[in-house]
């Protein structure tokens, strides 16, 4: 019995469910205690002991059915596999009854019935006849693959494998223009939720600590006395006044033009997930024109929103993107009602299509913003080629980051939030900013000042253009 459980556990692990050795011991103990009284109860026992997350349950049920149905299928086949199986079955005879399908139909309601009925005896018969006609059919190989796992030849992967296979680590750059209209898959959304919820967890924990450490002010005399009443007024426990603290605000400008659509797509999803979690986010999208989409993000399913944007209903996508125009329009329409010194994030490649740069607007934005961050999906090798103005614009920003994967994106946003919360954001005072820049000149990470003079006044280096 232990052997079967171990094999089953390794099958679970192969499929990405994390099961600890302690849990498989629990499963064996539970089976010994409750005894084996049929398939349904065994499934429940194993599920109780091995599965600790509701999201894993459907996968577990599917695997359970696959694993314990295979016996029957293979026994009826006359080949080497069947003989091997028969040997194992006779060894662990106590388990063979699990292959019986009777009563399976009442097993569970919901999607489980579907799984069960998919593998009812008729289907198996059909499957078998299929393999007889064409042994090279995919069904055949599937059985072979399953057999391999079942004999325990393939090692269970380390649990971390699941995370390296995370679909979000796929480079954003891989998706190209032709995939433009593809909606977010469920996996992408789930993976994003996972990334964000992990991030939130880390953040919230640290925020709380910072909140406790930093946001405390003077002694609150009355509360301290109240708190120490039972200690005979000896102040063992102190109560401190709290400083007021605002919810951090973000203003995000997201380029939806053709050249960066693959990155903006994930940025939108991140915004959507972040929105209202703990932040006050105002989001804008732009191409040549700029529009606020905060309301839409809050109220629309993300796929619908992406679709609407892709159709060009919100901003015209056929125009060439122009950052200069966007900054002007942003100043005209929105800059006045930016409140509470938000952090300002721009996602874009700074390719201005040789339009007016209008970088002076950034100066005004910076006076209003607590922190400025530019995100670009482009490698810095190509920054100086063509119409890219990132060196000019970048001088106004506290930081310019390259984001290529969703992991990058979430890391950058997390760092930013920590900066805002921890009050470690650099002061906006320009002189001090430039001094700081001077001091950090030799920091190789500080790539945005390449091509900019020694930091006195941000000037546009025409070499970027002449190289074209």
């Amino acid at each position: 019995m232990e052997r079967i459980i171990t094999r089953f556990v390794s099958l679970l692990r192969e499929n990405g469910i994390r099961v600890s050795p302690g849990e498989s011991l629990d499963a064996v103990q539970a089976l010994a205690l409750a005894g084996m009284r049929g398939r349904k109860s065994t499934r429940q026992l194993l599920r109780l002991t091995l599965i600790k997350n509701i999201n894993d349950v459907p996968l577990f049920d599917a695997l359970f059915n696959r694993f314990f149905n295979r016996f029957k299928l293979d026994i009826s086949d006359i080949d080497l596999a069947a003989q091997l199986d028969a040997a194992i079955v006779s060894m662990d005879g106590e388990f063979t009854y699990l292959n019986q399908n009777q009563g399976d139909d009442h097993d569970e309601q919901g999607p489980l019935i579907k799984i069960d009925s998919e593998i009812n005896p008729e289907d198996l018969q059909e499957l078998k006849s299929l393999t007889e006609i064409d042994p090279d059919d995919t069904d055949g190989t599937e059985i072979m693959v399953q057999m391999k796992g079942y004999r325990g030849k393939s090692k269970a992967p380390r649990p971390s494998r699941r995370f390296t296979q995370n679909p979000l680590t796929i480079e954003l750059g891989k998706s190209n223009g032709s995939e433009r209209n593809i909606a977010f898959t469920l996996e992408e959304q789930l993976a994003m939720q996972e990334v964000v919820s992990k991030m939130m967890l880390r953040l919230r924990k640290d925020m709380k600590r910072m909140h406790n450490n930093q946001n405390r002010g003077k002694l609150h005399v009355i509360k301290t006395i109240q708190k120490n009443y039972r200690n005979d007024m000896v102040p063992f426990l102190l109560a401190l006044r709290r400083k007021r603290r605002d919810k951090p605000r973000l203003v995000v400008l997201c380029d939806v033009s053709f050249s960066v659509s693959h990155a903006s797509r994930f940025m939108l999803l991140l915004l959507h997930t972040l929105h209202n979690q703990m932040l006050d986010v105002r989001s804008f999208i732009y191409n040549r024109d700029i529009t606020e989409i905060t309301e839409m993000l809050a109220n629309m399913p993300v796929n619908d929103l992406v679709h609407t944007i892709d159709q060009g209903d919100i901003v015209d996508l056929d125009e060439n993107s122009s950052f200069g125009q966007v900054f002007l329009k942003f100043k005209k329409n929105y800059l006045e009602n930016l409140r509470g010194r938000p952090a300002f994030i721009i996602l874009g490649d700074a390719r201005n299509n040789y339009d007016e740069a209008n970088d002076s607007v950034l100066e005004e934005i910076r006076e209003k913003a607590r922190y400025m961050l530019w995100l670009t999906p482009e490698d810095k090798d190509t920054w100086n080629r063509g119409d890219c103005l990132i060196n000019l614009y970048g001088a106004y920003f506290n930081k310019v980051e390259v984001v290529k994967t969703v992991e990058d994106l979430s890391t950058v946003v997390e760092e930013l939030l920590r900066d805002i919360y921890g009050d470690r954001a650099e002061p906006i005072d320009r002189k001090r900013l430039q001094e700081a820049k001077k001091e950090e000149e030799y920091d190789s990470k500080d790539y945005y000042r390449r091509g900019v003079g020694s930091g006195v006044e941000p000037t546009f280096d025409p070499s970027g253009r002449s190289g074209w």
């Binding site: 994390r18 629990d26 599965i51 600790k52 967890l201 709380k208 039972r230 005979d232």
Partner: protein
């Protein structure tokens, strides 16, 4: 030796209708002396299960309601500072005479230090829920309610208690449970519970019950309600749950509604009845409209 059927029966006697998964989980928790972690939407009877178990097994219920900022002083144990101070005040004369024997300060401190354990003894220990359930002479039921509301530091604090059934108190050493309590943790899933905690527990997900079980629950709680009506209202609520409401009606709403209907002496469910009592099943303004619309559509 109890069986799962026995579990079902004694839960039924306490007015709780369990399905197979619940019965198996309870049975295993009793046999294996492992905590159960129950997750599920609010109002499906997670806490109710603990209460029913406590009354039917005659285990005294020790409840620990978690909240943000709960710490070991509130959950495990605490020192009774006031009592300690009071004792030192009252014993001052004795202390004086006791210490007057010593000739110099060093000796006095040593003498006092040798009696330190007096002031950190069980006598001055306040038992908070977890310790109380461990020290109970009778096997108790420890309910750690809504663990997801507590911080993750607190979760880590519980790990020792839940896996070893012991508490380490620096001044006293390790205190092991006299009788291992039957432990139930509930979570509404507002926060992911750490894998470390999950690993130490049996995991039970209680979702919305299937039709027959929910009808049975209503019938047990309100025997006066006729079966046909119970069936009708449960069917209606099942449809309402699929409406994508902000707060889908759960079993507790079903029971509230059943109570309202039995007070109103309703015989037949009509859209008018639903419209009049919709406040018991829908808890948001947008939901109210959706549910009344459904009633018009379904019941005419």
């Amino acid at each position: 030796m109890i069986t799962e059927q026995a579990v079902k029966d004694f839960l039924r006697s306490a007015g709780y209708i369990a399905d197979d998964a619940i019965a198996t989980a309870v049975f295993l928790a009793i046999q294996m002396e492992k905590p159960i972690l129950i997750e599920g939407p609010p109002g499906v009877g997670k806490t109710g299960l603990a209460k029913a178990l406590s009354s039917s097994l005659d285990f005294p219920l020790v409840r620990l309601q978690c909240y943000e900022g709960i710490d070991e002083g509130k959950a495990l144990y605490d020192w009774e500072y006031g009592k300690q101070l009071l004792y030192t005040q009252l014993l001052r004369t004795q202390l004086d005479s006791y210490l007057s024997v010593s000739t110099d300060l060093r000796e006095a401190v040593e003498r006092l230090a040798s009696e330190e354990s007096l002031f950190f003894s069980q006598n001055f220990l306040v038992q908070r829920p977890v310790l109380r359930s461990f020290m109970s002479d009778k096997r108790s039921l420890l309910l750690i309610d809504e663990i997801d509301r507590a911080d993750d530091e607190f979760e880590a604090l519980l790990l020792e208690a839940l896996s070893e059934f012991q508490i380490s108190i620096p001044e006293l050493g390790v205190i092991a449970a006299k009788r291992k309590p039957l432990t139930i943790l509930t979570s509404n899933g507002t926060r992911m519970i750490s894998d470390a905690l999950r690993r130490r527990c049996l995991y039970l997900y209680i979702g919305y019950p299937e039709l027959e079980r929910e009808v049975a629950i209503v019938r047990v709680k309100f025997p006066a309600l006729c079966e046909e009506l119970a069936h009708q209202m449960v069917t209606f609520l099942k449809k309402a749950r699929e409406l994508n409401l902000r707060k889908p009606p759960s079993v507790s709403e079903t029971l509230d509604w059943a109570e309202v209907l039995s007070i109103l002496k309703t015989k037949q469910l009509t859209s008018e009845v639903v419209a009049n009592t919709v406040g018991t099943i829908a808890k948001h303004q947008t939901d109210l409209q959706k549910v009344t619309d459904l009633a018009l559509q379904e019941l005419g």
